[in-house]
């Protein structure tokens, strides 16, 4: 009972922190700060994965998103964006109408989803293990698995070719 309450309140705390840092990430003027805020939001999403019994995905999220992608993004920010220049406008003129569209979409979705009554999740099942994920990846999903390797290789070569100077 008490542990249920504790885990639920920690989930809502993490969700609120993630939402706050997502808002910070899209509104902050300094691009470097907004990348750091996005890192906190990605860690929050990793915690949400743990709540959903997807520990492997949480680790993948931390390794790939926080470890690799955000490092790349911060490198790109330091190479391009003029973060020292305080006079550049960072947002365009469509703030008000974008706020209306985004918040009306969020309101509509929340309205629909809050009336959504799903049957309670089945609790008594064998937990999904990493071995099962690996077995599925190399038997049933082997074609997409190989395709994603080719896509990643192509992205590697392509980005190196695009960004080099003549």
């Amino acid at each position: 009972m008490w542990s249920n309450f504790l885990s639920a309140s920690i989930f809502y705390l993490i969700a609120i922190v993630g939402i706050i840092f997502a808002i910070l990430s899209v509104t902050l003027k300094n691009m470097f700060h907004s990348a750091l805020a996005l890192i906190v939001m990605l860690l929050g999403v990793a915690v949400v994965y743990i709540y959903l019994d997807a520990e492997f995905l949480a680790l993948v999220q931390i390794l790939i998103y926080v470890g690799a992608i955000m490092t790349l993004v911060i490198f790109a920010i330091m190479l391009t964006a003029e973060i020292y220049n305080k006079n550049i406008k960072r947002h365009n003129q469509q703030k008000l109408i974008s706020l209306i569209i985004a918040s009306s979409m969020a309101g509509f979705l929340i309205f629909v989803l809050s009336r959504f009554k799903a049957q309670a999740g089945v609790s008594f099942f064998e937990p999904l293990t990493l071995a099962m994920i690996g077995k599925e990846l190399l038997t049933k999903y082997v074609l997409p698995f190989e395709l994603i390797s080719i896509i990643l290789l192509a992205a590697l070569v392509g980005s190196a070719a695009i960004s080099k100077k003549e």
Binding site: A22, Y49, L52, F116
Partner: protein, 102 residues
């Protein structure tokens, strides 16, 4: 136990925040960051539905692995394009890169 709809509401809020960021950011890197928020919202949806609707099937989690891989590839290529654009035009603000608009 947290009900399914709360995960979906969290994901809807994150998706709307990402949409706002895509609409308002001037910098191309900012748009990429907002896209990452939207992709993460979608991934939460996948895993939540997989857990509550078909707890024995691994399809949800495996789909999220592929989504993360494709997102990584797209981010890498996008950042390379942004760096190349910065070399050529000395700006990364998408409203100033208008050579293809006449």
């Amino acid at each position: 136990m947290i009900p399914l709809s709360h995960y979906l509401i969290l994901s809807a809020i994150l998706f709307s925040i990402g949409l706002y960021g895509v609409f308002t950011r001037r910098s191309a890197i900012g748009i990429l960051l907002s896209l990452e928020i939207m992709l993460n919202a979608v991934n939460i949806n996948f895993v939540a539905f997989a857990k509550f609707m078909a707890p024995q099937a691994l399809a949800g989690q495996i789909f999220v692995i592929f989504t993360i891989g494709v997102a990584a590839a797209s981010t890498v290529v996008g950042l390379a394009i942004i760096v190349a654009i910065y070399h050529n035009y000395k700006t990364i603000f998408v409203d100033e890169i208008d050579v293809m608009k006449w």
